[in-house]
């Protein structure tokens, strides 16, 4: 038994390096990025208020990208997540006028429902998830525009008073703990990963593929609800475009974090954390370093390529898509 334990320990260290290169490299990229901006912004990036800003700006992306791991692990994408965030925020805003306490559950429920519909189209109508979610995105965007009447809608003042950072922090921590434990420490996460590697083999090993696909989309839906509600509190208004950039940002964050777009064995929560930090630091660092203006997007693109190439500085897999 001793021998077995020793073996496991040795193996752990070994496997940490051998099989986690894809997760270590992005961390390196993040460190380099922080160093780069800390220097170019003359230290402003590392001030407390700046770190608070990064937290304030980064949490929606962190929420959605953590949930996005669930979908991407199975080899799917949820193109509707950004539109769903805005839609949930609008619904929450409307419900808040009726009863502020119901706004939060309403947002979560709306998100979950949208996720459920996405997964049903995919699982039962067998429509490629890419198309199903793209269509859902169009539908939600239009619905959101109609609900907000094309303009932005302010939340009731009572609700705004809930925007204590501490409340948000607690909610966020609870969410992170739950979502990480479910993915890494329960059957659900391991089976989602298995589905991403081989649907066929997973089904034959007793994985309830349909149920899990549904679960993965409902999780992103709930995350959209949470992100929508918290963003509503943060900006104080619902708007037709709220959160719409989160779809692309989540995909980019996960890939930057070292996850394969095809999911499977590379899936990890740490990818979402690293990736969303890189994205947020990049967004805010550029302004702090005074690189604003026209070249802003150019620099973002170039830095993006650099970080991607650093995070892929591993034995290049042939998984090109």
């Amino acid at each position: 038994m001793m021998v077995v334990n020793m073996d496991i320990k040795k193996g752990r260290i070994q496997s940490l390096f051998q099989y986690n290169k894809s997760k270590i490299a992005p961390l390196l990229g993040l460190v380099l990025l922080v160093v780069f901006f800390a220097i170019t912004s003359k230290g402003k990036l590392l001030e407390a208020s700046s770190i608070e800003n990064i937290y304030n700006q980064g949490f929606p992306l962190l929420i959605t990208s953590l949930a996005f791991v669930y979908v991407m692990a199975t080899g799917n994408l949820d193109f509707s997540i950004g539109a769903n965030v805005g839609f949930c925020a609008t619904i929450a805003c409307y419900v808040a006028f009726f009863n502020t306490k119901l706004a939060f559950p309403a947002a979560l429920l709306t998100g979950a429902l949208v996720g459920l519909i996405n997964s049903l189209m995919y699982v039962f109508l067998k429509i490629p998830s890419f198309i199903a979610c793209l269509c859902m995105m169009f539908i939600l965007t239009a619905a959101n525009q109609t609900l907000t009447g094309g303009g932005s809608k302010m939340v009731p003042v009572e609700l705004l008073q809930n925007d204590y950072s501490i409340v948000r922090l607690v909610l966020l921590l609870i969410y992170i703990i739950i979502i990480v434990i479910i993915f890494h420490k329960t059957k659900v996460g391991k089976q989602l990963e298995a589905l991403g590697i081989s649907v066929e083999a997973s089904i034959q090993t007793g994985v309830n593929a349909k149920l899990l696909f549904i679960v993965s989309y409902v999780v992103t839906g709930v995350a959209a609800g949470l992100a929508g509600y918290l963003m509503l509190l943060r900006v104080g208004a619902a708007s037709p475009t709220l959160g719409s950039s989160l779809t692309i940002d989540s995909i980019i964050a996960l890939v930057l974090g070292g996850m394969s777009i095809l999911g499977g064995a590379s899936s990890s929560m740490i990818c979402a954390v690293t990736g969303s930090l890189i994205t947020t630091v990049l967004n805010s660092g550029i302004v702090l370093a005074g690189m604003g203006g026209d070249a802003q997007q150019l620099i973002k693109g170039a830095l993006f390529i650099i970080v991607v190439s650093i995070s892929t500085l591993r034995e290049s897999s042939s998984k090109n898509f």
Partner: protein, 327 residues
């Protein structure tokens, strides 16, 4: 030898195929005609819907090759805008020839750069697309600062009258041959089917993927000419705004590849045309035009849901099933 006789299609089944292929747009157009006969019953209106689909068709064709080898590239819009700006700039100096060469050459160049980034970075095409899109968009913005991005009206002739048909027919012949009757077309379909096997058969996958980007760039060049000549102007876009240029054509390609009764090249035409007609139906019903994407989305779901569930045989859900291409 008797065995060397290949199967031939009968004329009747050929006609049936054509009817099946055109069923979708014709039915859609009928809806339009039924809405208001006096407005859409005219032949001119019918032709107008075809004309309107041309730009998306050209973009769709340029993306078809990429989609065939599972390259999803949302940078198409940004490349189109940048190439358009360059083309317009050259048209002011060298006239029509400047427009054509400016668009095509710069588009081929941009396509090649994207292909190069893809093959060097070895990251998924979606990600490569996002990366170059950020750069190309901002280049477009910077470039447009110091120049006039208007095209004078005598250079718009390519999208007028018969010229547009000549251009599109030439493009069709080119795409059809490239896709169905060249070594390149055969090999990219092989890669799309199973990349690993194709590589082991001696197909140079990396090179072909790069060439797909170059060819895509070439076709985007022509799409750019149509786009610019059609609207008479080209405006830079930023903040991922150019991505939406690719959405409608992608829908057309997806729809087109579903139509089993014809070749994918024709299918993309039918797909793009159908989506164009849906847009017109929206206006004819007096619905808010923002709902257009919603209707197209729902329509696509219905068509796909029908197509995919026609054989009720249980097949386990396959996530990475490649888009089937007709040979």
């Amino acid at each position: 030898m008797k065995t060397n006789i290949l199967r031939k299609e009968s004329i009747l089944s050929g006609i049936k195929r054509v009817i099946l292929t055109l069923l979708l747009p014709i039915l859609l157009y009928l809806v339009l005609v039924l809405t208001s006969f006096e407005k859409f019953g005219k032949f001119d209106s019918f032709i107008m819907t075809i004309n309107q689909s041309m730009v998306n068709l050209a973009i769709g064709w340029s993306m078809m090759f990429g989609i065939s080898v599972n390259l999803f590239d949302f940078s198409v819009g940004s490349r189109l805008v940048l190439a358009g700006l360059i083309g317009v700039h050259f048209s002011q100096k060298f006239g029509l020839l400047g427009l054509i060469l400016g668009c095509v050459v710069s588009s081929v160049l941009l396509g090649s750069i994207t292909g190069l980034v893809f093959s060097i970075l070895k990251v998924p095409s979606i990600i490569t697309g996002f990366a170059v899109l950020l750069i190309f968009e901002s280049l477009g913005v910077i470039l447009s600062k110091n120049m006039v991005n208007a095209i004078s009206s005598e250079h718009l002739v390519l999208a007028k009258g018969f010229n547009i048909y000549i251009l599109i027919v030439l493009l069709f012949i080119f795409v059809y041959i490239m896709y169905n009757h060249t070594k390149f077309g055969f090999q990219i379909k092989a890669i799309g089917g199973n990349e690993r096997v194709a590589t082991s058969m001696g197909i140079n996958t990396a090179k072909l993927k790069f060439l797909t980007y170059v060819l895509g760039g070439f076709l985007v060049g022509f799409a750019t000419i149509l786009y610019v000549s059609n609207a008479g102007t080209i405006q830079p876009k930023d903040g991922l705004g150019s991505m939406s240029i690719a959405f409608t054509p992608i829908m057309g390609v997806m729809l087109g590849m579903l139509i089993k009764s014809c070749n994918s090249v024709v299918g993309v035409f039918v797909g793009s045309w159908s989506i164009t007609i849906i847009g017109s139906v929206m206006v004819a019903f007096g619905w808010e035009s923002r709902l257009q994407n919603v209707i197209v989305g729902i329509f696509l779901i219905i068509v796909m849901g029908f197509q995919l569930n026609r054989d009720k045989l249980f097949k386990p859900i396959t996530t990475k099933k490649n888009i089937q291409t007709n040979n």
